[in-house]
């Protein structure tokens, strides 16, 4: 039961351009969303989060957009740098459904930023 989907397994972008990673979810109870970045042989690292009361959150070069009606979120990286090359995971949970932090993860998008 894939409640969080990342339909693009990979994305290749030129250095300095914008990277847009997409994520769709099916559970309308999800109200908290995060993006994680994972390098090979390392655990996922928190990148940015957004609550469903917002539709945008920025942190430096990273911006996450949330479209609740479409059950869609996206991560924008501007400008992209070669060090951004990694696998990006979208994660979601419901703060109301459970009293514990059961995150649902997408299958990841491998970003390659070319110098």
């Amino acid at each position: 039961d894939q409640q969080v989907k990342q339909n693009s397994p990979s994305l290749s972008v030129q250095e300095g351009r914008i990277s847009i990673l997409n994520c769709d979810y099916t559970n309308s109870m999800f109200d908290y969303f995060l993006w994680y970045k994972k390098y090979p042989a390392e655990g996922p690292t928190f990148l940015i989060s957004i609550s469903s009361i917002k539709d945008k959150n920025e942190d430096g070069r990273f911006t996450v957009f949330l479209n609740k009606s479409a059950k869609h979120l996206s991560l924008h990286i501007v400008p992209s740098q070669p060090g951004d090359s990694a696998v990006y995971f979208c994660a979601a949970l419901s703060t109301n459904l459970y009293n514990f932090n059961k995150f649902y993860f997408g299958s990841g998008t491998k970003l390659n930023v070319k110098p």
Partner: protein, 114 residues
Amino acid sequence: DAGVTQSPTHLIKTRGQHVTLRCSPISGHKSVSWYQQVLGQGPQFIFQYYEKEERGRGNFPDRFSARQFPNYSSELNVNALLLGDSALYLCASSLAGNTDEKLFFGSGTQLSVL
């Protein structure tokens, strides 16, 4: 400051065996969660522990069990291993295990079942 540490980093077992994976959370973090990541998929929730009590369990069989110790470290145990248990097992810690807390992950234990 030390992050989340997991041991061992790699493990090879045969079907039917038992395995124990270990995790030490970030200092001050009282909640530990376990996730399974099968190749090509995202992490899947197994357990969350807080203050030595199980707070939540994912959709995994009873062969999977865990516990948390007074120092907040944790063990994940898997009995009667199946080939399908081959995966990266990730441990994550958070301060109080509240639903909107971000997780800090360790590098994982790569388990191969032959």
